[in-house]
């Protein structure tokens, strides 16, 4: 039922034509998703939806207004166009508005996988059964999700930009728990079903949960930590949201401000927004139809420039890196496909190298205490362990951390050789290794 790329592009062009303004941009996005949710070793929610949305940005001089609707018929389109123009008419002038972007060279990025789209309710139920098996055989309970998503995006504007693409992905999560507080977590994300083994996923979570039985308290303090990729992804999501976008940079609220070209973390840390990295699942252009560029954000420890869209590229005199979010966008351009360069140490070797430390599987409810200093606070969950003499020993009760992330990333012990695709979080999907941090 999801719109084809051709139909989405046609609707976007028609919406631009229907908008009586100096310029117009139309986004047509269509999704076709299904999610099977389980807890207590049974499926308890099982849902499917499909929807399509038209968003029109009308431009009158330097004034813009936006309207959205999910009614894609002629009447819905006309009503949406009129609402966008009315909004633009009442908006104040924005002298900084550079106009809509013109076309730019774009190499299509193919992401569709029919196998993922065929992952129907029956097959998802089988996957759930396989995931649960490892937990139930150990008298543990499993909770999580198995989902498939299909997505079509088309962007058109009155400067002859027309782009359309589609993608699909499969995601699964599992939390395995015992009654006494031990729990273990595993997740999987990919563009298709190859490499997805529900049984292995369930096994990983259950093994961690078994190991996590009988958690003990740990004294507050500073510890060497090994962060699993899931935990690293949480930190990167916040870096992306708080500081890697040019709006925060322009407003003086980003940790990159006055630091471009300076070393801000360990030289082994390189963070890049790179949708074309082989494992990534994102779309090749942004919500203005501009090609997503590869953008180094931290390069061998040195701060680089943030991601931009047409507005902030013009404002800051930087290239348009193609990171626009849909209008209206109060957050500015943001990176959605963050990657951290791998290192050369296996996660198990990081653990083996430590006399004493803490292993963290993932974080919970991370929030910001100081965006400029990148001080975050949150809890650990689902597999936190003491490391003693090179081994995971005692399971630990969940701990609260409050940490300046740039400071932590300045004391890197080792970076993992393997990377995992984690997401989508607030920052989209991230491709990250494990990290050992010495403080």
């Amino acid at each position: 039922m999801r719109l084809s790329e051709e139909r989405a592009a046609e609707l976007a062009r028609a919406a631009v034509a229907a908008t009586q303004a100096d310029a117009a941009e139309a986004i047509v996005s269509a999704s076709d998703s299904a999610l099977t949710r389980f807890a207590g070793n049974r499926i308890h929610q099982n849902v499917a939806e499909d929807d399509a949305q038209l968003t029109i940005r009308a431009v009158l001089g330097t004034k813009t207004g936006v309207a959205s609707t999910n009614r894609l018929d002629d009447e819905g389109r006309a009503t949406c166009a009129a609402a966008a123009v009315n909004a633009a008419r009442h908006a104040p002038e924005d002298p900084g508005f550079p106009g809509l972007p013109g076309d730019a060279p774009y190499e299509p990025l193919v992401r569709e996988h029919a196998e993922a789209l065929g992952f129907d309710a029956g097959r998802r139920a089988e996957a759930v059964r396989d995931i649960i098996a490892a937990s139930s055989s150990r008298s543990l309970t499993a909770a999580g999700t198995v989902a498939r998503n299909g997505y079509t995006l088309a962007v058109a504007n009155s400067l002859d930009v027309t782009r359309a693409t589609s993608s699909a992905d499969v995601r699964a999560t599992v939390l395995s728990m015992d009654d006494a507080g031990g729990s273990g977590w595993a997740s999987w994300l990919g563009a298709d079903l190859s490499g997805f083994s529900p049984r292995n996923l369930g096994e990983r979570a259950a093994t961690t949960a078994e190991r996590a039985k009988g958690p003990a308290s740990l004294e507050p303090g500073t510890y060497i930590v090994v962060l699993a990729p899931e935990a690293v992804s949480d930190l990167l999501d916040f870096m992306g949201y708080l500081g890697f976008g040019s709006k925060a940079f322009a407003e003086g609220g980003s940790f990159l401000v006055d630091k471009v070209g300076a070393t801000i973390v360990d030289e082994r840390i390189s963070i890049t927004d790179d949708v074309r990295s082989p494992q990534m699942i994102g779309l090749g252009f942004d919500f203005e139809g501009m090609p997503r560029q590869r953008v180094p954000l931290i390069e061998r420890g040195m701060a680089r420039e943030p991601v931009t869209d047409s507005y902030y590229a013009s404002k800051l005199g930087m290239p348009n890196t193609g990171h626009a979010l849909p209008a209206p966008n109060p957050y500015g351009p943001l990176p959605l496909n963050l990657t951290m360069d791998p290192g050369d140490v296996a996660e198990e070797d990081m653990i083996a190298s430590l006399g004493r430390g803490v292993y963290v599987t993932r974080f919970h409810y991370v929030n910001v205490e100081d965006p400029m200093k990148l001080v975050l606070t949150g809890m650990t969950r689902d597999g936190t362990f003491l490391i003693e003499n090179g081994r995971l020993t005692q399971s630990l009760k969940n701990l609260r951390f409050t940490q300046n992330v740039l400071e932590a990333f300045s004391h890197v012990g080792a970076i993992g050789a393997e990377r995992s695709l984690i997401g989508p979080g607030e920052g989209g999907a991230t491709l990250v290794p494990a990290l050992m941090l010495e403080r």
């Binding site: 099977t36 389980f38 807890a39 499917a48 609707t69 205490e369």
Partner: protein, 487 residues
């Protein structure tokens, strides 16, 4: 009621009939039309000026003792039948991995049309008036040259919903919600401080029309907001240590939300949110015999307060709105329930099933979760406190997955010394464990200072849903709280 070419009642009947033909033991359908308007002026620039509309229907079924759900934006007979068929297929897949049949607690069947109370439809108010108000507020905020960033916003929602079930329910509900707020950020060197009115993170919201925005008198408060933000730049850090802490109402609203509202969701207790938002420390064995807080603490879940974002006539299972005790004289007394979870308790639903749209199943969500007022005036409370901290407006929040260990930051705090408010402090945070914190509550202000705060951004579920809820609270005092400073 006709929407386009569709008679909604006839459409519902057709879809539900199809579900029954395919073997559904139970089915319900919601048709939801939702309009939104968002205006956000940031540092003089209109960042958001948007109207959005969404329309569609969703069908829930129980087949072979398990749930299935599907939805569509196309209200055609063809799609109605297709969605019913897909929901049944999905339910049969669910049934292949079940432990026992779904059982729903009984509910009286209702029919009728209900409308929320409002005076001015915000969607009829000219855009130039709304933008004009925000521009006036922005202008006053930025009169102080240390104010580098401002945020002045308004948000409006309009819902037109039908619920129908194979049990014979047919309920139409219409609701309007409005909200607004302002914030000013002062920056000097590396110091960044923010103040908001009437509260942080977008302001205050109610199930009301534009008259609610007018009542906030935003412009009148902007000078004080800017002044306080600038004052915070040079304020000393909040002292650390175990303190007597008085929390302002909107901060207390978040405290109630995070440390009470979420752990009383019975689906969390039963583990169905375990892999995402977590579980709850309020396990079933604690019902009616666990001391959640001091004798002063009384908390209710009250959907009958229809002026609150968490108020309504019927929930999304057709259960009438109710007011129930959650904490009574400090003892944990009740949960938020659904028909399915209430059946586990052997009772009936208290009506807390809510969905954020046609394409989402209802989940157990907060309604209006209220800390009932006490006996103190605010002036009396301060005068009675020889040494303490008064903290206001949410800045940051973090709590563990069982809703026990929390750490919250506020925008501002004042020293309380010898019964008077004194110096301003910056970057206050406080942390505690939920029962210990509420156990230290020894005074709550009275109805004069009690306010029903609207919270339009409560996230839960997979796929994610955002619920609009509310919390009534008056300032209250807590003893022996660990207060620290955000770094």
């Amino acid at each position: 009621m006709l929407v386009g070419e569709i008679d909604r009642r006839a459409f519902c009947d057709t879809v539900l009939e199809r579900a029954k033909e395919l073997g559904a033991e139970y089915a319900d359908i919601r048709i939801v039309s939702r309009d939104e308007e968002h205006i956000d002026l940031r540092t003089g620039k209109v960042e958001t000026l948007q109207r959005e509309s969404s329309y569609g229907f969703g069908v829930r079924v129980i087949v072979d003792g398990a749930w299935g759900f599907s939805s569509s934006p196309r209200l055609t007979i063809e799609d109605g039948r297709r969605v019913a068929e897909e929901a049944v297929r999905i339910a049969r897949a669910s049934a292949s991995v079940k432990r026992k049949d779904v059982w729903l607690a009984p509910v009286d069947v209702h029919e009728g049309a209900f409308k929320s109370i409002f005076k001015i439809d915000p969607f009829d108010v000219p855009l130039e008036d709304k933008i004009g108000l925000l521009r006036d507020a922005d202008r006053v905020l930025r009169q102080n040259d240390k104010i580098k960033l401002t945020d002045c916003s308004m948000d409006f929602w309009k819902y037109d919903q039908v619920f129908a079930s194979t049990e014979g329910a047919y309920i139409e509900q219409f609701k309007i919600e409005s909200g607004a707020g302002v914030a000013a950020t002062a920056i000097e060197g590396a110091e960044v401080q923010k103040r908001s009115y009437p509260c942080a993170f977008g302001g205050d919201y109610a199930a009301a029309g534009y008259e609610f925005v007018e009542s906030l008198m935003l412009v009148d408060h902007c000078e004080e907001v800017a002044k306080q933000a600038v004052e915070l730049l040079s304020a000393p850090p909040c002292p650390t240590g175990e303190k007597t802490l008085i929390l302002e109402g909107s901060m207390l609203a978040l405290q109630v939300h995070e440390s009470c509202g979420h752990p009383i969701e019975l689906d969390r207790v039963f583990g169905t949110e375990a892999s995402y938002a977590g579980t709850s420390f309020l396990t079933m064995d604690k019902l009616n015999n666990f001391r959640y807080g001091s004798d002063e603490v009384n908390i209710t879940a009250d959907a009958t307060l229809k002026q609150g974002l968490g108020g309504f006539d019927f929930d999304d299972e057709g259960v009438p709105a109710q007011c129930v005790d959650i904490v009574k004289d400090g003892i944990f007394s009740g949960y938020l329930t659904s028909r399915e979870t209430a059946a586990e308790l052997g009772g009936t639903s208290m009506g807390a099933m809510r969905s954020d749209g046609w394409n989402r199943i209802p989940l157990i969500r907060m309604t209006n979760i209220n800390l009932l007022p006490g006996d103190w005036s605010f002036d009396e409370l301060i005068a009675d406190t020889p040494d303490g901290i008064y903290a206001a407006d949410v800045k940051s929040w973090s709590i563990d997955d069982k809703r026990l260990n929390f750490q919250f930051g506020t925008e501002i705090a004042w020293e309380i010394k010898d019964g008077s408010l004194g110096r301003v402090f910056k970057n206050p945070i406080y942390s505690s464990m939920t029962p210990a914190f509420w156990g230290g509550c020894d005074a709550i202000c009275n109805e004069r200072d009690w306010h029903l705060w609207g919270v339009p951004n409560c996230g839960k579920g997979e796929p994610m849903q955002v619920a609009h809820v509310a919390h009534g609270a008056a300032p209250a005092r807590f003893r022996n709280v660990q207060v620290g400073v955000g770094r």
